[in-house]
């Protein structure tokens, strides 16, 4: 139990914002796996024999997952009719409910609310050179959130970011083993350049290319693929679980980025290369929620610089458009000098922190009056 608690504190050292953030990240990853499972369930319900499938796969994890899904969906649904003494599935209602959950982080529909990544919209619109209203229905919510809260998709939802935060822990392990990994730094404008090139390519060649190496899109496709391979194995009667059939070039790309991040450059992808992150940066330029520093409390300890995933410098008020409001610096700030404030503009640099206790200057001893002996006075006079 204490080991579990230690692991938890290593992942999430202080309560507050980080609890909420880890929760949202976990939910996003859970949904990535859950939505394709729901699609499979819908398939068996709509056009196969669901009960037969579950019975045949009783001893397999595939069957157990389907059964759990079935129970959860039936428990949350409306009351079921009783047929020959047994409750019967409300097929129509179940299918209508399932139709409102589909997709991945690239483009998702949850409870009937459609959300599409702004990069997907930008690419689709520029490649087809047409503005379809369906696109903007999906864009509404992500765009609104980004305009108000900034680049929060990156820090709160993106599965790649979650994964890379974990690989950052590996860097810590390497440092502990006294094998300090390299930390090459590149020009941050690279990601904007990549975004511009991608949009230009979409305009010229009418093919959206950025989606092929934008991690949220890759994660959506790959995890759908894994889940499909997982269930196809049961359908083919092959024993065991194998996800290797679902590993493709795209998965290799993600793994390659992870390896580079561990050994070559800290947060290489998010800081210097991610085109989607670049678009979120630009959209979040006039965000209303920003990290603010209270100079009176700041002690210039530089903890915020160490924890910042984007490599920014909140200690000298340098956050700019790249801050993703992950609240790590706020959590780790010992004197609680950092906090979220509503503001449209970045603060002016406020200089060094004033929070250190004033050390009183060493008192200068007053020159003592030299006592002149009586006899000397007499001599002088």
């Amino acid at each position: 139990m204490s080991a579990l608690r230690k692991a938890w504190t290593a992942l999430c050292p202080k309560p507050g914002w980080q609890w909420a953030r880890r929760g949202v990240q976990a939910a996003a990853i859970a949904l990535l796996f859950l939505l394709p499972v729901l699609a499979r369930y819908n398939n068996y319900l709509a056009s196969r024999e669901l009960d037969g499938v579950m019975e045949r796969w009783q001893d397999r994890s595939q069957g157990q997952i389907l059964a759990a899904t079935d129970q959860a969906l039936r428990a949350t649904g409306s009351e079921e009719q009783v047929f020959e003494g047994n409750p019967r599935r409300n097929r129509e209602e179940l299918q209508e409910r399932l139709a409102r959950y589909r997709g991945s982080v690239w483009s998702v529909e949850i409870a009937g609310v459609s959300m599409t990544d702004p990069l997907a919209v930008a690419e689709s619109a520029s490649a087809s050179k047409q503005l379809r209203w369906v696109l903007f229905v999906g864009l509404l919510l992500p765009l609104g959130i980004t305009l108000i809260l900034g680049r929060v998709f990156c820090s709160w939802v993106c599965p790649m970011n979650t994964l890379l935060e974990l690989t950052d822990k590996l860097r810590g392990v390497l440092k502990f083993l006294e094998l300090p990994p390299h930390n090459l730094r590149f020009w941050r404008g690279n990601k904007f350049l990549l975004l511009g090139m991608g949009i230009l390519a979409a305009l010229l060649f009418s093919v959206p290319l950025l989606g092929y190496f934008y991690p949220p899109a890759i994660f959506g496709r790959e995890i759908h693929n894994w889940v499909n391979v997982f269930f196809d194995r049961a359908e083919a009667g092959a024993p065991g679980i194998s996800w290797l059939g679902g590993l493709s070039i795209a998965s290799g790309f993600v793994l390659g980025v992870m390896v580079l991040e561990v050994f070559v450059s800290e947060r290489l992808w998010c800081r210097y290369l991610c085109p989607g992150g670049a678009l979120y940066c630009l959209l979040g330029k006039f965000r209303t929620v920003r990290v603010r520093r209270d100079v009176a409390k700041c002690t210039d300890c530089a903890d915020c610089i160490t924890v910042c995933g984007m490599g920014l410098n909140p200690m000298r008020d340098v956050t700019g458009i790249e801050c993703d409001n992950c609240a790590l610096c706020i959590t780790y700030c010992e004197p609680r000098a950092l906090s979220f404030r509503f503001d449209l503009f970045d603060p002016r640099p406020q200089g060094p922190g004033q929070g250190l206790p004033k050390v009183p200057a060493a008192p200068v001893p007053e020159p003592k009056a030299v006592e002149v002996p009586e006899r000397a006075k007499a001599v002088a006079s």
Binding site: L35, P36, L38, A39, R40, N42, N43, A46, S47, E92, Q95, E96, A99, R102, G103, S104, W106, S107, V108, E109, S114, T116, A120, E123, S124, A127, S128, K129, Q130, R132, V134, L135, V137, G138, L179, A202, L204, F205, S206, V207, P208, G211, Y212, A217, G220, R221, H224, N225, G245, G246, S248, I249, G252, G256, V259, F263
Partner: protein, 229 residues
Amino acid sequence: MKRREFLRNALTLGASCAAGGALMGRAGSHVAAGTFLRPPGALNEDDFLSTCIRCGRCGDACPNRCITTFTRDVGKDFSLAPGPGEEGTPVIFPRRQACMLCQGVPGEYLRCTDACPTGALQKISKEYESLQKHVEMGIAEVDHQICHSYNGATCGVCGRACPFPGKALKIGLYERPTVNPDYCIGCGLCERSCIKYPQAIRIVPRHKQFESQGGTLAGLLKTLLSGTA
């Protein structure tokens, strides 16, 4: 040699080996594109490729799971590989699973067209008139050399699978099928049901008929990439 130097060298070597292997694997196995269908309501092939964001929502929505994401693994069974720009797009292989036009499924629209967030699949109602008017995935073609009914036996399975029996697919004397292109929308249920292998009745996809052979930059890119790949 220092430990750090050794590690660095090993890493570089490993990375270059992996990259080389990946490239070799890619270059060796490119197969010429064959046929597949696009989901109902798809735009013209060029427009479709530029509008679709490869999100896979149509595949999630399909109650029959006939829509699959086009990857190398999926295409392998049909000796197909995704061409340039086709990786990740939704396709239907009617031999594996055909489109049942969402009949018997609740909802007013075809599920995949309802799910599409980009308009690459245009929203289409499930009504007969609307299906006839807007859906055109392809047109069935009967191979008289293979078909049982044209070779001394009687079969007629395809006519019973057709969603528009007597209109799109007429079963004549000796259960011989004839296709009426005015009514056939290319759902592929006949191809799926055909008892012969290779199938005597096959769907000729629409995107093959209307594929632009050049003139656009997309076409140029396509020919360039397929020439080098």
